[in-house]
Amino acid sequence: MNIQDMILTLQKHWSDQGCLLMQAYDTEKGAGTMSPMTLLKSLGPEPWNVAYVEPSRRPADGRYGQNPNRLYQHHQFQVIMKPSPDNIQELYLDSLKALGIDPNKHDIRFVEDNWENPTLGAAGLGWEVWLDGMEITQFTYFQQIGGLEARPVSAEITYGLERLASYIQDKENVFELEWTDGVTVGDIFMQPEYEHSTYTFEESDEDMLFQLFSTYEKEAERIMEKGLVFPAYDYVLKCSHTFNLLDAKGVISVTERTGYISRVRNLARKIAKTYVEERERLGFPMLKKEDENHE
């Protein structure tokens, strides 16, 4: 099965479970979790079920397209179900079956792995899912987001698409994976991988990036004060990506590093708090909607 069909299959599967299909969020980010469709929507009491593909940038993992396993940018298929349904594990295993993975022919295990993102004040408990020894999915019950307790609890399922594809297509080099029949990941992404790596490690303008970081940070602060949660959060994402670029270049000293992380964390906390207040002011609309649907 090629990657495109995998995406279509997963979308169909989770759509059938009542998930909204979203598109990737248009700001650079390191993981699907950071999309406001996960991070903000998993806050507060409103139900939320969503699935989307998220291109995820990890500048430090860039290898000029030379490493068979590591990428500047990989793809995650992200699912959020809030509150987590009682049969969430079964729903997940059914999705593997839909991808043609027969659990009886493999060894599938849920191995404890707790997730934490200090920058976003977020933490959860769960597993990494092993398919014949390979970690193919991160499965997490959110416990805390933006420093706030997550109630009700969201289940987050994050498939590493390239990982999973390398298993399904039995390929050892990520660039040989078929996106559609006849077109490989290498065909599409080799050039951007090479160029982004070159940019990240050699060409990026540190002074400009430092400046951008503080500009984004100030703007986030400023519009936070006006209660504009989503725009403020976009600037937090920009801060985070800019920080990752600087960090990958190795130009952030120790003291600066701790400082930068705690500054982003403080912003994320404020945004989380304001978001919930804002939703409350609006009367938690999705909660009402659910009641109406039940009637």
Binding site: N69, D86, R109, L125, Y141, T255
Partner: protein, 694 residues
């Protein structure tokens, strides 16, 4: 009539590390619960897999035993009125006991007759009591709990079903949205939903459902499969009990499989290969019967032996990718120079308040220098120690250690050799992390030991200076283990170096470098207290009784090996009748000396011979005694000290210390104080309790 009881809690996969402990808790808490409820039973058997915690109780009685007891009421003269009729008091009493006046009989107690009834309490039905068993499940504690869905409960993992049966009957109760029933679930992929007919058939039914519910049976099953494989393939498997426990708790039905990797990866240091296999993939590494690592591994799958080839092939692929990474790291790490890597330490934080790793290395170097001087190392050794201190952390910036943190030091040694460092320096880099765990091996080379002590002391002083002090079970930086490591290393290498001397040296560095610390006095007190507690712990481990521990630590630890020898000697002496008068004599001196204001003695003021005799014995023994202590010879020192025993006894027999003449009194107290000063250098003899011999 009795019957079997079964409780099963079905959960989403529990963390493997929780399961052994949860099983133990479940068994002991179940036992305690039945005992508290006064329900007779024969035995409790627990089961645990990643997806279930269960307990079966056999021969459970149908009800609690009835209780018969005699209840005493009012005196006869109050219970009967003048007409011989029952009074209100008597009627009230019998009613209160659930009885009738007809049940009353009299019994004499100390000459007075009282009303009595035989009270009968009928045992409650077990079926009824079992409804409360949910508390046992809720009382289990886990290292980490979580919430799920919209529920309030916090538990290790979400609860998905519960079975509760007394014989063939369901015991009704619920936890959150889950109610008990007779339905359990078989293996996730090989089994199915199944209704249990009775509590007794639990294990059989689960086995039919491709599950080995008993933790021990599962563990033994894996072990046997491994041994069988060893024999069949002529291999020597590295079977580590922790790993065996972990894989036991990752599967419900274990099947062992083997895989291979390319021989070229054997060039990677075997520690890295083993870590990759064990820690990351939970495989058992394979050695030849000669002990050489072979390019194979053994894994344990959660399922039966069907499609085992697919599983093995998938696992091989994963391991290959990991080993390729390791190989890449190993090659990359050998590029550049040690100096280049050291430069990177300036950008790695050690502790926010205490600077970078490069700062820490500077301190380790300074401490190493001082300690090398004290131990009178020769010039070559000193240079080796300096170099080892300088580069002891360089491997922390290598990609290999970044990936396999537990290989810190191990890789440092290997890379140092490849970069052409001295053998002693290379070895010291690895040894400076020793002991790596409680009671682990200590460094065996001088240079390794010195750098190890310097690094650990820097960590301890730095942490305590900024207020990181271990409390209770909280010791995130492993300071206790490191302090023990210092004492054990000093002891094993037989170095006559007082611990306090090193503590003070490092603490002074911190003050001189104006690193952020709390007040000097406070830190000093905390440090000495912390080390004293560690020394006390170690002495107790050596079977030294608590009172002797207190006695020898009265002036701090000093040279630990000597303090240990002293303590052992005193433990032995305490069993010896002839030592009793010596201890009494020395103890009396210590007691009275507390009343003294000065330690001045004027022989002119002596009034009797025993004073003069004690004084002259003391002046004669003082120097050899101090010399014996300085030579770390506690046996000789105690022998000399014992010479004071008779003069002291005679002194107290003949002399009234608290004389009326103030001058005479103070002179006598002064004499005792100067002697006490010497005695205390040995131990607080009053802390030692004399063991009564019967």
């Amino acid at each position: 009539m009795s019957n079997t009881v079964l409780f099963e809690l079905g959960v989403e996969e529990l963390p493997a590390r929780f399961i052994n402990d949860a099983l133990q808790q479940l068994e002991s808490k179940t036992k305690a619960w039945f005992e508290n409820q006064r329900i007779p039973f024969d035995d409790v058997k627990g089961f645990a897999t990643p997806r279930r915690l269960a307990v079966q109780v056999t021969e459970v009685a149908e009800k609690q035993p009835d209780i018969e007891e005699e209840a005493k009421g009012p005196a006869k003269k109050i219970a009967l009125d003048d007409q011989g009729e029952w009074t209100k008091a008597a009627i009230g009493f019998s009613k209160g006991q659930g009885k009738d006046v007809d049940d009353i009989y009299f019994k004499e107690i100390k000459g007075t007759e009282y009303v009595h009834v035989n009270k009968f309490i009928e045992g409650e039905s077990t079926a009824n009591l079992l409804k409360e068993f949910r508390s046992v499940f809720l009382d289990l504690t886990f290292a980490k709990n979580m919430r799920w869905g919209s529920y309030d409960l916090r538990y290790a993992r979400p609860i998905r079903w519960m079975v509760a049966l007394f014989g063939e009957e369901v015991i009704p109760f619920s936890i959150e949205n889950i109610s008990t029933g007779r339905t359990t679930f078989g293996h996730r992929f090989l089994g199915e939903e199944v209704a249990l007919h009775s509590a007794a058939e639990y294990e059989d039914v689960l086995k039919q459902q491709s599950i080995i519910p008993s933790l021990n049976e599962r563990k033994n099953n894996i072990h046997e499969q491994l041994l069988h494989l060893e024999k069949e393939k002529q291999w020597n498997l590295v079977i580590d009990d922790d790993l065996l426990n972990e894989v036991t708790n990752l599967v419900e039905l274990p099947t062992v499989f083997t895989g291979a990797f390319n021989e070229e990866f054997l060039e990677i240091p075997e520690e890295a290969l083993i870590t990759s296999m064990k820690e990351h993939q939970r495989y058992f590494p394979v050695r030849s019967t000669d002990g050489d690592l072979l390019p194979f591994f053994v894994g344990v799958r959660n399922g039966d032996d069907r499609h085992l080839d697919t599983v093995a092939r998938g696992n091989e692929k994963v391991l290959k990718a990991r080993l390729k990474d390791a190989q890449f790291f190993y090659e990359e790490d050998q590029k550049g120079s040690i100096d280049e890597k050291l430069e990177k330490l300036t950008r790695m934080v050690y502790q926010e308040e205490l600077g970078t790793l490069a700062d820490k290395v500077q301190r380790i170097k300074a401490i190493t220098g001082k300690v090398s001087d004290w131990l009178e190392l020769d010039d070559k050794e000193k240079a080796q120690a300096q170099r080892a201190a300088e580069i002891c952390k360089f491997d922390l910036v290598t990609q290999m250690v970044d990936e396999f943190t537990e290989l810190q030091g191990v890789m440092g040694e290997k890379y140092a050799r490849l970069f052409g460092e001295d053998e002693a320096v290379a070895v010291a880099i690895n040894e400076h992390y020793m002991p790596r765990h409680a009671n682990g091996e200590v460094p065996s080379s001088k240079v390794g030991a010195i750098v190890s002590i310097a690094d650990k002391m820097d960590t301890i002083v730095g942490s305590i200076a900024i207020g990181i002090i271990p409390t209770g079970s909280q010791d995130p930086y492993g300071l206790r283990r490191q302090a023990l490591g210092i004492l054990q290393t000093l002891n094993t290498l037989g170095w006559s170096l007082p611990v306090e001397q090193i503590i003070d040296l490092v603490h002074n560095f911190y003050v001189e470098l104006s690193l952020p610390t709390r007040s000097k006095e406070e830190v000093n007190k905390d440090l000495h207290e912390f080390f004293n507690l560690r020394a006390a712990y170690l002495l107790r481990e050596e079977q030294v009784d608590p009172d002797v521990v207190d006695a020898v630590l009265v002036n701090g630890i000093n040279v630990y090996s000597t303090t240990l020898e002293k303590a052992k000697l005193l433990v032995e002496k305490r069993q010896d009748e002839t030592f009793k008068p010596i201890q009494e004599a020395l103890g009396r001196v210590l007691n009275l000396a507390e009343k003294a204001e000065t330690d001045e003695v004027d022989p002119e003021l002596f009034e009797n011979e025993t004073e003069a005799e004690l004084y002259s014995t003391f002046t004669a023994m003082h120097e050899p005694y101090v010399a014996a202590l300085e030579n770390e010879d506690p046996v000789k020192a105690l022998e000399i000290l014992s010479e004071l025993s008779s003069p002291i006894h005679e002194f107290f027999d003949q002399t009234m210390v608290m004389a009326e003449d103030v001058k005479v009194k103070n002179n006598r107290l002064g004499l005792l104080k100067s002697i006490a000063y010497d005695i205390k250098k040995y131990a607080d003899f009053n802390a030692i309790e004399w063991k009564q011999q019967f």
